[in-house]
């Protein structure tokens, strides 16, 4: 069985652009929610002096992550902001002093067993850097380590434009393999597969070279078919294992970790500096000189454009992440987040959505869905409010990759409808459960 997908234009213009470090911005805005789960609790107040790497947000609840100051300076305000997802969260604003002094307690953590490893991963503040933002320590904190057969390292980077994972492989291969060693040592995992799309020839060469000197690491070159980096797709294409609906990769003995996340863990184990900066691909039709930029978390995204020769024109749309699954942001002062791997600024032409025409029943959506769903059928069921049909159509399996909308010749909002249908189905299933308990 071959999973379907789409051939998108890769647009990896910045693959050869070694990241440049941005000068420290005047002010950063660090939201308390840069991960999946509960927002962190603000641990500083207005007027506090903070240093780089200092804890400013405490983990709150089981699925949450600590947050650290990315600059040294003074807390100018703590204020609720609206994220591009619509979520309202507190954010810490820091006026920088330009000194970039590190916090005193920054030191390599003492890691000697699984427990201390998980603790270190937690304190590093790292979350899924591929874009999902799931707290990594929750993922690696497996109750029974024998359940893990192998670790799949996600280096597919299937979204157009983005090359920040490519840069990790080219610039920090040592850290990637130190990360592998750490996981081997503390989690007892023996087998690793690095999944890379075949459009990254240089990175594949480097990874294969390193892998040949390491036991138990296989580099799997995958066709550049979006969404190759989707978790279930990647696990299937690298290991042949099918993750059941509603299940985690662990259900088939696999942990999936993004390559930049893994490299960062290794870096943290060495330096003890938490996640305070990110390498970000800045590209899109409105950007003069697309490039990779290292920026402190909380930097307003307009600063990134300045480092890329400015904008060609007023941008019509700006995205966090790639054009297939990225989130459009409300303004240019939106901050860089932990899981931001790209900022795409589109001109009017690229951003203008095409006109929607009636469905011609061509079946393209059906034939391109990696999970063999029926987006057209889901749309019909959603439009007439048929929750039972939505359940039968397995809309809750949808990973929102957007292949259906992409291939639709009538430009119908298919994945957009899937998202709404998923909410509708969840409500329906909840009410059914409630009725059952009555």
């Amino acid at each position: 069985m071959r999973l379907h997908g789409i051939k998108v234009q890769h647009k990896k213009h910045t693959a050869d652009s070694a990241p440049v470090r941005l000068s420290v911005p005047d002010e950063v805005c660090i939201p308390m929610s840069m991960h999946i789960g509960k927002p962190a609790k603000v641990a500083v107040k207005r007027g506090d002096e903070v240093k780089r790497g200092q804890l400013i947000g405490e983990r709150d609840g089981f699925v949450s992550a600590p947050i650290h100051a990315s600059v040294s300076g003074k807390v100018s305000k703590v204020e609720e902001i609206t994220m591009s997802t619509g979520q309202k969260v507190p954010a810490v604003f820091i006026k920088t002093d330009g000194l970039q002094e590190n916090a005193e307690d920054i030191a390599a953590p003492d890691v000697h067993d699984f427990k201390s490893f998980v603790e270190a991963v937690e304190l590093s503040g790292v979350v899924g850097l591929g874009g999902a933002g799931f707290p990594t320590f929750v993922k690696v904190n497996v109750d029974d380590l024998d359940k893990i057969d192998e670790v799949v390292i996600n280096a597919a980077e299937c979204e157009p434009y983005i090359t920040s994972d490519t840069r990790t492989m080219l610039d920090k291969p040592d850290y990637v393999f130190k990360g592998i060693d750490a996981v081997k040592k503390y989690m007892g995992v023996k087998r690793f597969v690095i999944g890379i799309e075949d459009n990254k020839k240089e990175a594949i060469k480097v990874m294969k070279d390193y892998a040949s000197k390491t036991d138990g690491v296989e580099v799997k070159v995958l066709p550049s078919i979006y969404p190759q980096g989707g978790e279930k797709v990647l696990v299937y294409n690298t290991t042949g294992k099918i993750i059941p609906k509603g299940g985690l990769p662990l259900a088939v003995g696999v942990i999936v970790i993004n390559i930049t996340t893994l490299a960062f863990i290794a870096e943290y184990l060495e330096t003890g500096m938490p996640l305070v900066e990110k390498c970000i691909t800045v590209d899109g039709s409105a950007v003069n000189n697309p490039a990779n930029v290292i920026a402190p978390i909380g930097t307003p995204i307009e600063k990134l454009f300045e480092a890329c020769g400015g904008l060609k024109c007023e941008p019509a749309k700006i995205l966090y992440g790639g054009p297939m699954m990225g989130i459009s942001v409300p303004s240019v002062d939106t901050p860089v987040l932990k899981m931001t791997n790209a900022i795409i600024a589109m001109d009017e032409k690229e951003a203008t959505p095409p006109k929607t025409t009636p469905c011609i029943n061509c079946g393209n959506c059906l034939r391109h869905c990696p999970f063999k769903l029926d987006p057209k059928g889901i749309m019909s069921a959603f439009n007439i409010g048929d929750s039972e049909a939505l359940e039968a159509l397995n809309v809750d399996l949808c990973m929102e990759c957007g292949c259906c909308s992409y291939v639709c010749p009538a430009k119908r909002p298919l994945v957009q409808t899937n998202k709404l249908a998923k909410i509708k189905l969840r409500e329906y299933l909840n009410s059914k459960k409630e009725e059952g308990t009555k």
């Binding site: 069985m1 999973l3 059941p244 700006i318 459009s328 951003a351 957007g402 994945v415």
Partner: protein, 307 residues
């Protein structure tokens, strides 16, 4: 600073549009149209022109009257007009061609909701209605020189083997028949174009034509004749592949094609009519929702085995 556009992903779309698909259909139908003018004379062009014009006009008019959005720019009415014209004898009275076009667009397509909603192929359904309504003119096959020429299938049904055209004549379309169905060469060119452009997939035409070939072999009939006669090539490449009235799934298309082939053979060999392609497609159109339902694949990770 101007407000940024906010929208849900994806933020990029493929360049494919409905209009481009229909334009490819028109391009693929051109060789057969040119062949029809060469074989049957300029009147073929007149019939084609009338059908296309009336189809487009009735779509525009219906949508105007119903205050619906105008869709003639998607070119689907042009395709229906071409297909209907190709299914008519060159001698068809103009008013009858116009009537058929109105039936195709208004009754079969628009009354069911317009593009993508019709459960049956408009051109084929209109043709069948015309065959019932105007059975005389719809079955009079006249060459431009005025010599009446029965279709090869009709000749075979009558047992008049001596008057049959040669294989080469059949391949080039020098025979009696509907104006767009006779030139196998032109239809193959168009069909290959559609396959290359991925407008259609190979499943339906291969299953359809393959079934007819196999059944002809089993029944001891002349295979090349059965494949090149009647409307098989036109039907298999251009009408059994219609999106809205055929299954979207791979196996669905194969079942659809086999069904069409079997019904065509049944009608040709044992039915009252010499030709059965139109009827076979219409009957399979009606079965389409069931075939689609039967052939839907199990979503990933829901217990479906490896396929």
């Amino acid at each position: 600073m101007r407000k940024l556009i906010s929208s849900v992903s994806p933020h990029v779309n493929s360049p494919l549009t409905t209009q481009k698909i229909m334009l490819d259909m028109v391009i693929a139908l051109l060789p057969a149209g040119i062949a029809s003018v060469i074989i049957f004379g300029l009147r073929a062009l007149l019939v084609i022109g009338v059908c296309v014009a009336v189809c487009v006009f009735s779509e525009w008019g219906f949508e105007k009257i119903c205050k619906k959005e105008n869709t003639i720019t998607d070119l689907s009415a042009v395709v229906t007009g071409l297909l209907l014209a190709y299914n008519l004898p060159v001698s068809i009275p103009i008013w009858q061609a116009a009537f058929g076009s109105i039936v195709a667009i208004v009754v079969v397509k628009q009354l069911f909701g317009g593009i993508g909603q019709n459960f049956a192929n408009p051109a084929i359904t209109a043709r069948i209605i015309m065959m019932t309504a105007f059975s005389g003119t719809m079955t009079s096959w006249v060459f431009p020189d005025g010599v009446s020429s029965a279709t090869p299938l009709a000749l075979m049904t009558k047992g008049d083997m001596a008057s049959l055209p040669t294989y080469l004549q059949m391949f080039l379309g020098w025979r009696g028949g509907c104006l767009g169905e006779t030139c196998t060469l032109a239809l193959l060119l168009g069909g290959i174009y559609l396959l290359i452009k991925k407008v259609i997939s190979w499943h339906t035409p291969v299953a359809f034509i393959g079934t007819v070939a196999l059944m002809s072999l089993v029944c001891g009939k002349d295979i090349p004749y059965q494949l090149m006669a009647g409307g098989l090539m036109l039907g298999a490449f251009f009408m059994a592949t219609d999106y809205s009235s055929t299954p979207p799934t791979k196996w669905g298309k194969i079942i659809f094609g086999i069904g069409c082939g079997l019904i065509t053979i049944l009608i040709r060999f044992w039915g009252n009519f010499p030709e059965g392609v139109s009827f076979s497609i219409l009957i399979m159109n009606i079965l389409t929702p069931y075939i689609t339902k039967l052939t839907r694949s199990k979503p990933f990770g829901t217990g479906g085995g490896k396929r």
